[in-house]
Symmetry: C2
Subunit: 442 residues, 2 copies
């Protein structure tokens, strides 16, 4: 949406809000008359390929959302949007709510929340299996033996989830491409079982934070299935790219996963926060956190149609976040979103080429999506100086990381970047490198 249209649409929304508020007393009921499951039949089965007009979406507000007000519309739209998005990602049908197979999606706030919830589900499932122990009867008999796995490249949220849930976590060494591999998992499982531990959870990352590396879920998945280990996939950044056929192969192996999450607020145009998560077995997530006080009792029980998302998350209250997906998916359409992501990756490859053509520099990751890791050939100290020089004037901003203790700069393409801004950035970085390398102190 260009600034001019945003201006018009934004003001229409303000009017819409005012009209809605003023009509409350007269025309609206405080509780909707719709029956559970009313919403799905009102919408198509999948997100549109082509962009739709703002008018069409807004007229559907009255037709689809308003009859169901906030409840059950918020929940039912979320169910359907997660199915739309799941189909766009070509997730296995078991993850879709409409498949009737017991799976489904939910919008978490961030990927950290999804990691916490998936680990909790896995912990509950394993503890329940082991002697039908109640998870809140903490005798520590089994709990202290549980062990979760992550790669040495995984996000800090995995370690944090393990701290919160009081389980051990073991970091597996990644390979030379920073990918977690089956052989290391096999080794760890064998060792841990010999030591009396119980492997129960693995968080695989598709698109690591440091270098956008991909764990080998085609190797890891079958091992997890064989061992009864819950495999969660954290694709916080990379997930959006899987709507492109060109990048969907990176998700191969998701069929072995128990849960999958990515941040639509990272690379899909939704505003923060919006982190869609899918599980194959909704009962595992629901049962792990179910407490039913009398003031929250209702007459419906969980089914393919009825979903009570408060059991799927840490907080009790929820926002109507599915509206974000509804607007984004319809106003862009799948084709346009694919084009935007392909164009961003093309820009990253262009930046990669700039780096490769300059022999003072090296590229330090395998560029698969929008992140290019690079460094001056030379010491960490030198690259630290380069980062400082680049960021000093506030013209561009890049962040560092460490890859096998090599200090590395990270250049990432975001929504809104242009080929001109990428070229400007490279020339700016290059000029700072020239100045740095010719200064007397280096």
């Amino acid at each position: 949406m260009d600034p001019k249209e945003f201006c018009i649409r934004g003001k229409q929304m303000v009017d819409y809000i005012v009209d809605y508020r003023e009509s409350l007393d007269k025309h609206r009921k405080v509780f909707p008359e719709v029956k559970p499951g009313y919403l799905r039949p009102l919408l198509p089965d999948a997100a549109p390929e082509e962009a739709e007009s703002f008018e069409d979406v807004m007229s559907d507000m009255e037709r689809v959302i308003m009859p169901g007000a906030s409840c059950p519309a918020a929940t039912e739209l979320e169910i359907v949007m997660l199915d739309w998005l799941g189909k766009a990602l070509q997730l296995p049908v078991e993850f879709l709510s409409g498949s009737g197979g017991g799976g489904g999606g939910v919008i978490q706030r961030t990927a950290s929340d999804a990691t916490l919830m998936s680990m909790l589900s896995a912990r509950h499932k394993t503890l329940t299996k082991l002697g039908r122990e109640q998870p809140n009867q903490v005798d520590g008999k089994h709990l202290s033996k549980l062990v979760a796995y992550m790669s040495d490249q995984a996000h800090s949220s995995v370690e944090r989830a393990a701290i919160i849930e009081a389980v051990r976590v073991r970091k597996l060494p990644s390979d030379e491409k920073f990918s977690m591999r089956g052989v290391e998992l096999e080794k760890a499982i064998k060792q841990d079982k010999e030591n009396g531990l119980i492997p129960f959870y693995l968080c695989a990352t598709l698109g690591t934070t440091s270098s956008c590396a991909f764990d080998n879920i085609l190797e890891l998945g079958p091992i997890c299935q064989r061992e009864g280990i819950w495999m969660h996939i954290d694709a916080a950044y990379a997930g959006s790219a899987f709507i492109c056929p060109e990048f969907r192969p990176l998700l191969n192996g998701v069929e072995f996963a128990d849960s999958f999450d990515f941040n639509a607020h990272k690379w899909m145009g939704a505003t923060f926060d919006c982190s869609p998560m899918w599980v194959k077995s909704r009962k595992d997530i629901v049962n792990s956190l179910k407490v039913e006080p009398p003031y929250l009792k209702h007459i419906h029980s969980e089914s393919d149609i009825i979903t009570d998302y408060r059991h799927w998350q840490i907080s009790l209250g929820r926002k109507f976040s599915s509206l974000k997906l509804w607007f984004v998916l319809r106003l862009f359409g799948i084709k346009k979103m694919q084009e935007l992501i392909l164009s961003d990756v093309a820009m990253a490859r262009e930046f990669e080429e700039f780096v490769r053509k300059d022999e003072r520099f090296e590229v330090t990751n395998e560029v698969k999506l929008g992140l290019v890791c690079f460094a001056l050939k030379g010491s960490n100290e030198l690259n630290r100086h380069l980062l400082e020089a680049v960021n000093r004037e506030g013209k561009i901003h890049i962040t560092p990381t460490e890859l096998r203790s090599k200090y590395t700069l990270r250049f990432v393409i975001c929504w809104g970047n242009t080929r001109e801004s990428v070229r400007f950035a490279w020339e700016y970085i290059s000029s700072k490198a020239t100045a740095l390398l010719s200064s007397p102190s280096e």
Copy 2:
């Protein structure tokens, strides 16, 4: 803000967003030049008593926020807004960041998140004290002995936090006013210690969900201090009312608490979600969840000026929620907010009077704020029928609860209620009762 002004201001905001986006390339730097701590001196020490104009707040956007962009402005405004709000609530100075005493505030998403974080801090603090055990070295030696306390009226989030954090939780019986009392806590501590357990955490509720009852923190607090038990206060609903001198005595005893939280999105005009929380010792909350990956390293270390809120919460990413408090506190001013709350409570008392004057009914809670619990004198079945009859047509909506297995209806005053709507609601309920009591089946 009336609808007409909302319409004008909303459209001004749309223009502001467009202008901001269009000025990015030309005038804005990608990284601010300000020094940590830049923001506090630009603002007054406390929230205004009288309402300020929208123009004044917006012109401060350019003066105060924009020079610090999102970082560090988001963090620094949050620190100062929590001090403003803490002062308005007359919290002890140890909870304020500006006091230099090691305390401070943070905006959690919901009260459930605050309960989880406070329990985590307590768990970490206790486990660290007991033999300097690392919280992520789960040998279960001490963990399985920890016991948390809540009243039988406390919110389900306490039980959920205990499940997540793998600690025992014990529900203490509340007294005839649904208040948790010192004598029951003493009894439980004695028993639990005799059984080798380690009491470490108590969640006291001010304004319970079911009946807006108040735990006796003046009794509970000193016991917790003596026993080294972390006292968290969950005032999710009632907290907003403590800005009124008339209701501030309900918060007496907060000086014994380690942490305090309420939902500004419930009764203070902030949109969901916005749950301000304060702790006396920021190091306890920060240390409980600190994991430092290389891509998040920075040169600043935690101090009275530097706050890294990612250590204070479950998620890594954050929103600029302090802007909500900034706008609300300034556009209303403390006096107007006090008036609104007093007026809401007056309406609840009016509804209470209606119920008391009708001898078919009884009031089943002590009405202190905006919640009136009431029931027809008679069976639970009868009251269940009444609830159904009242909610059937969608004219008003009330929710039930159980108080000592007595089925009870709950009438709550929210923002936007008027004396007319309260009278209408009572007459409607009363007419449904008349119809129900005169029907042949009863």
